[in-house]
Structure formats: C-alpha cells, structure tokens
Symmetry: C2
C-alpha cells in the first residue's frame, strides 16, 4: 500500500509538472508570437550590417551590435571571447565564360572560400566533366593535366531532407580542387550545392590537402552547370575561362559574443543556445545564420520577459567563424574546458529560419531517453521530429566535454535555395517562421533548465 | 493450429502489401521529384493566363488550358461540366484615403468580392472602429448611422495553425457590411485577413443578408489598418474616403474540367483529386489555387508514368467558382448524384503549395480507422498530421453522398501572406514544396485505390 501510495504521489507530481510545463510553454509561444523583436533584430543585422565574413568590418560590427543588444536587454553578463580567425577576401567580382567556337557565353561563378586567385589574366583551358572523384581518378593524370575539372554531380532531389542531399554532394566543393590538383588540373569548377535551377552561384568553404598544387576553384550556378554540360556534349574541345582575385590574409582577431543569465539554483550548470554571427560575403547571411543568432538572443529575452528565473545558467552564444574555420566553436569549448565549466546542454540553430519540425539530439541513449517524455509537450507546436540526429557545427566541440547537443530542425525544403548565395537576404525570412523557431528553442531550453539532463 | 496458420497468412499478406505499397510510394516520390512538370504547368497557368475570377476571360482560358493539358497527358476521358457562375467585376482600381485635418493619407484597399460600388464620387464619412459585432451592436444605430464602420479585429497570431486564426476573424469580411448596414452605416472597411504587417489588401467574398441596405465594403491593408486605428486615437473626428466601381453582372456560363483514368477492376468506384481553377482577380492565384490544380493533374500523370493501372476510376477535377459561389463544387456533387456515381473518396488541395504536413479527414470513425494503418507509410515523407480535420470547400458537397473527404494540409505559416492578394504570384511557390504536395496526394490516392475505404 505504501508503495502504491508512493507511485501515485510520483505520478501526480509528474502530471502536475507536465501541466505546469505545458502552461509555461504556451506562454512562451504567446510572448514570442505577439511581442518578439527578433524579426526587427534580423533586419538590423542583415540590412544595416550586412555580410559578415570572418575578419571583415561587417563581422566586427556584428560583434559590437550583438554585444550592445544583449546589454540593452539587461542580461546579467555580456562578454566577448577572443578568437583568431582566418581572413579570406574575395577581391574583385569574378568573371567566367564558356568559349564554344566563336561563341562566348558568360556564366555566373563565385570563388570558393579559401581558394587561391587565378593569375591576373585568368585561366582558360579545356574542360573535363566528372560526377565523382572515382570517375576523375579513372581518367588519370594524362587526361586531366592542363585542364579545368568540372565537378557536376547534382544534389539528389529525391532525398526528402535536403541536408542529406547536400551531404552527398558537398565533397566536390570541399575537396574537388585537391583531387583535381593532384592530377595536374589548372582549375576546378563545381556545380552549386542546390537542387534549384537558377543563376545564383553558391560559395562555401574548401580546403587544400598539404603537398598538393593550389589550383583556383569556384562554384558555378546550376543553370551555368547545365549549359556547360550540354555544350560539352556537342563540343568536347570548348574552353572555359575564369578569373578571380581572392586571397588569404593573415589571421585576424575576432570574438564570440556571449550573453548570460545566471542560474538561481544550479548556477554552475550551463545551458548554451546559439547560432553563428559570421556569414558568407555575397549575401546578407539571413537564414545562414542571422536567424539562429536573433532566435538565440530571443530565447533569453523571452524567459526574462515572462519573469522565469532559470535554475541553471543560460547563455546565448554568437559564435564567430562557423563558415570557414570553426574557430569560435573550438575556442568556446576550449574556454569551457580551461575554466572547468559544466555545460549540460547546447542548442544550435543553423539550418535556417523556417517552420520548426523538431530537434536532432547528440548524446547517449540514456540522455535521449530523458528528453523523450517532453515530446507530448512539444508536438502540439509542430515539433514531431525529436530524436537522434545532428547537433550543430559550433556546439560540436562541446561534445568532448559530455555536453548533450541539440540541433534545431526547421523545414529543409527551401534552405538550399538561399545557402551561401547572394539571395540569402532579409526578404527570404518569414517573420512567423522565424518566431516559431525562437519559441521552439525557448521551450526546449526551458525544459532543459527545469529538469536538467 | 489452423487459426494460427490463418493469422500468420493474414499477417504475412498484410506485411507484403505494406512492403509493396512502401516501394510504390517511394517510386511516386522519385518520379515527381525528378520529372514532374507541375511547376512549369503552374507557370503557364499563373503567368501566361493569370487571374481567373469566375466569369472572366482568364477563367475561360484556364478551362481550355486544363482540358487541353489533360488530353495531351492521354487521360482516358476529359470532359467539361457546365455550371452557371456569379460574375462580379472590380472595375477601376479603388481609391482610399484618411483625411485627418489637413492631412490626406492614401491607403491601399481592395473592394470585397460581391460588394456594391460606392457612388461615382466615392463616399466620405467619420469612422467607428470596432473589434467585434457585439461591440458594434452595443454602440447602436445612433452612433453608427452615417458613419463608415472599421472592423479591426486582427487574426490571432498565437494560433499555430493560421487557418484557425483566419476562422476567428473572417466573419468581419463575410458579414461586416451586413452588420454595419443594419445600423445605418454608409460603408464598411475591414482589416485584411493576415497576421503580416504590410501594404497588400486582401480581397475575398462577402455577402449581404436579405432586407439589409447594400453598403459598399472593402478590405484595407494591415499597415493601413494600423495607421487608421492610430490616427483615430488622436482624432476621432477624422474622415475616411473610398471609391470603388465594382458590380455584379448576370451569371455567366462556365465549367468544371474533369480528367479521368478508368478503373480496371472496380470502375464504378470513383476517387476524386482536385483543386479550384478560379482565383481572385488581383493576383495570379498561384497558391490559391493554381497549386492544387497542377498537383491534382500531376497525381494522375504520375501513376500513368509509373505504369500503375488503377483498380478504381480516378478523376482530377478542376473546380470552378470556389472563391465566390462554390457553384462548381455544388454542381459536381449534383452531377454525381444525378448519374448515381459512387464516389468513395475525394482529396482536395486548397491550402497552398507549401511543404506537406498531413491530411485532414472528414468521415466516420470507422472510415478514419481504415486510413490509420497507412500512417507508417506516409510519416517518412513528413506527413505526420493525419486524422479528423477539414476536407475542402469544393469537395464538401460530396459528403452528402457518403464520400470520405481528405483535405491536404501543407505548412500554414506563409499562406495568409499571399491569400487573396496581388502577391499571390508564381514566384511565391517553391518548386520542391509544390512537388512534395503532389507526391503526398499521389501516395494517398494510390493507397485509396489499392485498398478502398
């Protein structure tokens, strides 16, 4: 009978907790859908500051802006964490064309981040089109030497999750120049990472393996890629010309920006919610990742506005340099380790400001099992996909400290229309969708704070 | 032992069916995500034909275009069903301004479909702002007579499903003029049906109750509504002026357009998939409801392309006049009844061409229970919301014949940014999202055809 009574008491307590949580989560959504300034913040970050590639003046302005914003919001502590970041600059706008007999057709390209420049006159050569590294290797140095390699494997449109399709194609961008350089190619042109057919080249980071010739590499828009491929079928001897003036300058000083609300009961247990402040240089970094930044700040603002005093310490972290180095993410984990900070959980939003679908979790089965009872609290808000998955690049290095990682999962269908392009601008983000993302993250952070992990 | 064996056989058969279904559904998605012409069809319907209000030349062109398209796709039978439709025309572009002392501020309005015109000189009067019909009635005729009533209750932004928020506000548009006219008002201005703050007035249908004075009514953009409300707070005596030249012409002849693939085993059991061909006159009717039309035709095209011979008869129906009369939907059900046709199920897409979330079902608990075993086949494609819900306006009248109705549910967050406005254009629809909708509907129609109801 005692056991039964105990069981009943536990059940009743559990049910009461769920009911309190459910009421609070409703309040969180109401507050954000009614009063959130996140969309206006995003306008400031994207339209007033604009592109924010690591080492740029825009990145520095964004550091100052987010620091001032969190100070104005009255968080308990706002501080900077210094990190040295790569400083790559694009230089003059790239030029590229297909020379097909007497016909010269201009196509849109964008130098890949980290690439070397062409010679000032540009490079022109015949083109070898391949769909995979294996196909390239099978051709061998004899056929590749002196040519421009054209990596044209599209993202698989049949993958429902576009990030999976991206994962299946992005090695061409990251390592294409290395693979082509090994075989004596003079340049590498990569089909843009999107399933859309349009005229927007998608930039993004690449790296050279050590000991391999550094050849220039750029992405070409998907329409440009289709045209080049079609043209090659009728004239295998056509040439491709491109010119780019990008260069890597010495590393620059920059910062993660951290806003904190101190925990009232367990201040030593830290919960991070963040996005990355840097963005590629050719757009405004609205979905990638201005959205994640303003959502993260809005999480803390919202709990404060509702008078919720967190038990644990909450931090909104604006990471620097996710796009081409991850120095901010690595630096943040280093600081945490050095200061013996205990990060129980970290939530990142870096998949766009679209309608929320759920969260991916990186943790042990036991840790995931602790989260599962919260599902009924979140599914009414469209968060049906909660389970093992991806966290986020910036919070990734915290995993080694035992932190459980949560990757915010919005709808993925439109993300690669914008990703790393000139059209990743404020206008592409929908106010309600952005706010629902902030509310989803606030609800999760609230539950993490209340119940721990 | 015999029973056990039977149970095992049934289980094995069930499992095999599920496995076959799962393979076919994967093929349906692959076909559509790789080869669907639906986006190009939508371009033709929205950009080449354009607006298609009932009775207009655009509506007639759309009838011919969709008939020819389905004939070209080689459906077994394509035919027209005549319906007489209301024929309302907007006339010259509306003019409206707030006269606040000496300040005259132009605001964007759109006459509501079915409204009468103002006098040729327009109407100008003081303004009474209300949030509800009750508030208006409490004011009484004395305070309302000779005034323009301004209905300014916003859609509730805290509703997760925006259609619910719409449902909570739309009576102002539908019946505002009647309620205001009863009390002697000279006009009714209604806040646009959207949670967004912008300059796009949202038109839509309204109706006058019999015996009530017919006063002109228009919607005002949400920014315009905010401005008017704010101005009234500082000057309750300001006046509002508007002029519109719309009129209702005699009913016009039009058509539903039906494309059919004959069933191979049970040709007398009919499954309908449809959208509505008509649209409001101020945009291109892209989300509302060009998307539903091209998706429905794509369902039949896809099954045909995959060599799937349906057991039952499948019909893609382009309904006419959903927006301001529902004559097509009513007419279709009348034809079905007159010809003793047995419609087992009808699927409608009229909630926009956004990422699919599920289907609402209108049917008995037993009928819904037959659908539930299909959920595991559909959730991998993001269709997690399957259950009792709304069907669709056009298929609604089929319910009286015992037809089970399915309303396609895409993500609702952006729909009311576009609904009934000048920006409901081709550019607002995303190719992948449109295609995923078509694939969701094709998967459901395939299951309905295979297993019946």
């Amino acid at each position: 009978m005692k056991k039964l009574l105990l069981a009943f008491c536990l059940f009743a307590t559990g049910a009461r907790a769920q009911s309190t949580d459910s009421v609070t989560i409703r309040k969180i959504y109401n507050e954000i859908l009614t009063n959130s300034p996140s969309y206006e913040w995003l306008r400031q970050l994207t339209q007033q500051i604009g592109p924010r590639l690591s080492g740029s003046a825009g990145a520095q302005k964004a550091v100052e802006w987010s620091k001032q914003l969190m100070e104005k919001e009255g968080f308990d502590r706002v501080f900077l964490q210094e990190v040295m970041v790569p400083h790559w600059v694009r230089g003059a706008k790239e030029v590229a064309y297909i020379q097909n007999g007497k016909q010269k057709i201009t196509v849109p390209i964008a130098a890949l981040g980290g690439s070397v420049a062409t010679s000032p006159k540009g490079v022109e050569a015949q083109v070898i089109e391949v769909k995979s590294f294996q196909e390239l290797r099978d051709l061998g140095a004899e056929k590749v030497k002196g040519k421009i390699v054209f990596f044209n494997r599209p993202m698989d449109p049949t993958k429902l999750n576009t990030f999976e399709a991206y994962g299946g194609a992005v090695e061409q961008r990251a390592n294409g120049a290395t693979e082509a350089g090994k075989l004596g190619a003079v340049g590498a042109i990569v089909r843009s990472m999107t399933t859309a057919l349009d005229d927007n080249p998608h930039t993004g980071s690449m790296r050279y393996a050590t000991g391999v010739p550094l050849i220039p590499t750029a992405s070409i828009s998907t329409n440009g890629a289709e045209l080049l491929s079609k043209s090659l079928k009728t004239n295998a001897n056509l040439t491709f010309y491109f010119k780019q003036s990008c260069e890597s300058l010495p590393d620059a000083k920059s910062y993660n920006v951290v806003g904190e609300i101190k925990g009232s009961e367990k201040p030593d247990e830290i919960i991070v919610v963040g996005g990355h402040l840097d963005s590629w240089d050719i757009g405004q970094g609205a979905h990638d990742d201005g959205s994640g930044c303003v959502q993260s700040i809005d999480v803390l603002r919202t709990l404060k506005a509702l008078g919720i005093k967190p038990k644990r310490t909450l931090r909104a972290v604006m990471f620097m340099n996710e796009e081409n180095g991850l120095r901010g993410g690595v630096g943040y984990a280093d600081y945490a380790k050095k200061n013996n900070e205990k990060h129980i959980a970290a939530v990142e939003s870096d998949n766009g400001g679209f309608t929320p679908r759920g969260f991916g979790i990186v943790g042990t089965a036991e840790q995931r099992a602790k989260v599962m009872p919260w599902k009924p609290l979140l599914t009414p808000y469209g968060l049906s996909e909660i389970g093992a998955g991806s966290g986020g690049a910036d919070i990734g290095p915290l995993a080694q400290l035992g932190t459980v990682l949560f990757g915010f999962k919005p709808d993925s269908q439109r993300y690669f229309d914008f990703h790393h392009t000139g059209i990743d601008r404020f206008e592409g983000v929908n106010k309600r969708e952005l706010e629902l993302g902030a509310a989803s993250m606030a609800a999760l952070v609230y539950l993490l704070d209340q119940h721990g992990l």
